[in-house]
């Protein structure tokens, strides 16, 4: 059966759901940093995490640089200036200060994740996915550690990694996305609070899917997480991330940094199902999702594949990218960005070809409904020495209704005459005729719309691990609710 087939039970579930079922708040006592941003706050965060001096110094260097950077304004998104002093940069459940075992975990947190469909108790997990659960500013638990440990895989929170594996953190953190990269990545380097560290040793195929589930809970709190994945020679890992937040009238900032490093013959698959609170139907509230994600194919024949399904957030602004340094390395980007109501998305990728015979593939699907605005922005750069580089880019936009916008902004920079570059783009609208055709066959309008949109996204969704593909199809359906009729 194809992935795009929507089981009737799925549609039943969707109907029973509120539009944004993850929009609840967990009533839990939290420990906050004082409001605002300053060197003192950074010292506070660093002290909370009991960090070594080098880490604090690295944060302060980033912070001082951040102060000098202007707000980037080139994206096709608009929002009022962010008041960086009107937010908390550290919030953590009081009970989560130390425990790292499930038995010690606050039952309220277990309940929260269960409600989100992420059972943390290993015996409750049927599909063998290890989870790092990040709640506001801290990782509250990481599952399946022993099993992974016996395979030699390190899967822990980034805070723990700073303590336990300082050499690796010093070596790799900031090596793909330096703090000087952009304003939001720089802020992250200064105030990041938690995230995930993954290390796959040489020749190891990670025995299970790894995942991080990000949850924002407290109001006026920014989430700044950091993910670092290092795949040594001939290793393989598939990593998933999911995210949700409560419904709130004010906007909340999420500025993450993700760095991937693949050595010779290594492969990293990174999948995201992003379902941050998108704001209400009038555009009030929602998450600002300003994320920097980049992977480097450092070794020969290495491969990095990004798959993202972006349905949430008031504003999505991100370009998961690949630097193809090793010869014969491969970068892939598969994306679905769905915007409804007043959501805005400016997303795409960068494929930087440096090594010889490097290949990249970009499949981007944008769906705009309501009064939303969606932009695909992508860069394909072929460096002078990248002999026989190849890129194939396809970006398709689907419009639902008359009040939304879809934009495509491809950049191509080619310095090598042996490169082969292909670019295809389409824009289409779901026509009344197509909807009528489905309804004539007995399929109600919303179900027809979901069917058509999932068909449009199929090429991307089939790159997701099975469990996520089903989840993503549901999300697409929920996100489209109210966009017809």
């Amino acid at each position: 059966m194809s992935n795009a087939a929507i089981a009737p039970e799925t549609l039943e579930t969707i109907k029973a759901l509120d539009k944004y079922e993850a929009g609840f708040v967990t009533d839990i006592e939290s420990d906050f940093a004082p409001k605002g941003l300053s060197e003192d706050i950074i010292r506070f965060i660093s002290a909370k995490k009991n960090e070594p001096d080098w880490m604090l110094e690295s944060r302060l260097t980033a912070y001082r640089h951040w102060l000098t950077l202007p707000e980037p304004e080139w994206a096709n998104v608009s929002f009022p200036p962010v008041d960086y002093q009107d937010a908390y940069y550290y919030a953590a459940p009081k009970t989560a200060a130390a425990p790292k075992s499930l038995d010690e975990l606050d039952p309220k947190l277990l309940e929260t994740y269960k409600k989100l469909g992420i059972p943390l108790r290993e015996q409750e997990m049927l599909n063998g996915i290890a989870v790092d659960a990040v709640f506001d500013s801290v990782s509250v638990v990481t599952t399946f550690r022993e099993k992974l440990h016996s395979a030699g895989v390190i899967f822990c929170s980034i805070s723990e990694a700073v303590q336990k594996y300082p050499d690796m953190i010093k070596k790799y953190m900031g090596s793909v996305v330096p703090y000087t990269d952009n304003k939001h990545a720089c802020l992250n380097a200064a105030v990041f609070t938690d995230g995930t560290f993954v290390y796959i040793p040489e020749g190891v195929r990670c025995p299970m899917e790894l995942s991080t589930y990000f949850r924002i809970n407290e109001a006026k709190t920014g989430q700044f997480e950091r993910t670092l994945i290092v795949a040594e020679k001939k290793s393989y890992v598939s990593y998933l991330e999911g995210c949700t937040a409560p419904k709130r009238d004010e906007n909340q900032m999420h500025a993450a940094v993700v760095e991937l490093i693949a050595m010779d013959d290594a492969e990293i698959k990174y999948s995201t199902v992003q379902n941050w609170y998108p704001g209400d139907e009038n555009g009030k509230g929602g998450i600002y999702n300003f994320v920097t994600k980049r992977g480097i194919c450092k070794g020969a024949r290495s491969r990095i594949s990004w798959t993202q399904v972006e349905t949430g957030s008031a504003i999505t602004w991100k370009y998961p990218s690949c630097v193809l340094l090793g010869d014969d390395s491969v970068g892939e980007f598969y994306s679905v960005a769905l915007t409804n109501n007043y959501q805005q998305a400016d997303t795409g990728t960068k494929m930087i070809h440096i090594g010889k015979n490097t290949r990249s593939r970009i499949i981007a699907k944008g769906i705009s409904a309501g009064k939303s605005n969606s932009t695909y922005r992508g860069l394909v750069r072929i460096a002078q020495k990248a002999e026989n580089a190849r890129n194939y880019t396809q970006c398709d936009s689907l419009l639902i209704g008359d009040l939304c916008g879809a934009h495509t902004v491809p950049y191509i920079e080619n310095k090598n005459p042996t490169a082969t570059l292909e670019h295809e783009a389409t824009t289409s609208k779901i026509s009344d005729k197509t909807l009528f055709y489905c309804r004539q066959r007995g399929i109600p309008e919303e179900e027809a719309l979901t069917l058509i949109v999932n068909g449009f996204c199929k090429e991307v969704l089939q790159h997701l691990p099975m469990e996520f593909a089903v989840e993503a199809q549901k999300l697409v359906a929920i996100s489209l609710e109210g966009s017809v009729g």
């Binding site: 795009a4 087939a5 009528f436 055709y437 489905c438 004539q440 066959r441 069917l451 068909g455």
Partner: protein, 251 residues
């Protein structure tokens, strides 16, 4: 089974159907023939419930219910099927997925249990064989990359799967060569039975050589101008529609 009384319909503000009346009994095959612009396609769309047509007068009763007050999907569940003149393409949605979604939506509306996947596939396989279709086509997006003939055959397959009480065929013969026409007609003829009626809309008599109608109507200027047996179609083939234009102009 179907009773159309004095139907008046405007499309884009202009009157297209101007008092059309028609009655069909279960199991009958009626042909509606008429020149371009006579309102043939408008009739099929109004019966199926497409937006953009304003019914200004008249009634339509189907299976004892007021058809015009119903949503398109409810009409389908009641047993109305429209074979499109130009079937749409739906990329990424396989014909199998589409048909399964449709069939189960209809069954659910009728208060029947959804078909188990195995039962569905068995039924589909049987219908595909009857129509001499390539099973591989079922995996492709609905009508994507299909030839004109394949699209029409796919319409007949859907008809066979959904087993309607009334199938309206809107110029099913347009764009078909003689071989494709034969195959499509055979598919339709296999579905004929005491519980299934057909309303075959066509410009040309050719289709009626293969799908033999019980009754033939001539539609011109928004009204049924004449009703008769199969011989009427032959007469039209010979003489054309000119007489009916004259008749309506004079009236």
């Amino acid at each position: 089974m179907l009773k159309i009384k004095n139907l008046h319909v405007n499309a884009a503000g202009r009157p297209v159907l101007k008092g059309l009346s028609l009655e069909m009994k279960a199991g009958e095959v009626h042909a509606i023939m008429g020149p371009n612009g006579s309102g043939k396609s408008t009739l099929s769309y109004v019966l199926a419930g497409r937006d953009g047509y304003e019914v200004t007068d008249g009634t339509v009763e189907f299976m004892g219910q007021d058809l015009l007050s119903m949503e398109p999907e409810d009409r389908a569940a009641l047993g109305l099927f429209l074979a499109f003149q130009y079937p749409v393409e739906i990329p990424g949605v396989s014909t199998t997925t589409f048909l399964k979604t449709a069939l189960n939506a209809i069954r659910k509306k009728r208060g029947e249990k959804e078909l188990e996947p195995a039962a569905f596939l068995k039924l589909q396989k049987q219908k595909i064989q009857q129509l001499g279709m390539d099973p591989e086509m079922m995996k492709r997006g609905v009508n994507v990359g299909f030839s004109g003939g394949e699209k029409k055959r796919n319409e007949v397959l859907q008809m066979a799967m959904l087993a309607p009480k009334l199938a309206i065929m809107d110029e099913t013969d347009s764009g078909l060569d003689i071989d494709a026409l034969k195959v499509v007609s055979e598919g339709v003829n296999a579905l004929r039975g005491p519980e299934t009626s057909f309303l075959v809309i066509t410009h040309y008599q050719r289709l009626l050589d293969y799908i033999k109608p019980d009754i033939v109507h001539v539609l011109a200027n928004g009204k049924i101008q004449k009703t008769g047996g199969p011989e009427l179609a032959l007469l039209l083939e010979e003489k054309g529609y000119a007489d009916f234009y004259d008749a309506t102009e004079a009236a």
